[in-house]
Symmetry: C2
Subunit: 81 residues, 2 copies
């Protein structure tokens, strides 16, 4: 499961995968974040106008966090130790 992303579409897809991997519906995320199901839908479908607060709330509900890495860079040995 590759979770790298540099576009809103890729972020949305990663969110959707993580959600389904937990067996959750958009309604489950909605209940945990107080965001509307329609907002979750919009985010998962790659709306770049989504606010950072919205994305962060959904990620928190999913137990995810960001890692900002150099483009195209694979995992560096320095990142491990």
């Amino acid at each position: 499961m590759d979770l790298s992303a540099r576009t809103a579409e890729q972020i949305g897809e990663a969110i959707r995968r993580a959600r389904k991997a937990r067996g959750w519906t958009q309604g489950d995320i909605s209940a945990r974040t107080n965001l509307r199901v329609a907002t979750i839908s919009s985010l998962e479908n790659g709306d770049a106008g989504t606010k950072l607060a919205t994305l962060l709330a959904v990620m928190a509900a999913l137990g995810l966090e960001f890692r900002l890495v150099e483009r195209g860079g694979s995992v560096e040995i320095e990142d491990i130790f």
Copy 2:
């Protein structure tokens, strides 16, 4: 340089570090993204209302991309190969 982030403040700080690591000013980012310097400032200062499009544009200018990882998870061996 730790670039993990789960809050808007941490993302802003990571952006600022990446920018300074390249010896760039907010004006340089502004010129590369057509975003106002004030918008870059707001992002770096952790405004969670920032749009995803704005963050993605700045990250693209800096040659950065996201990696969505499990919270608190260190780099897994599966992520390398």
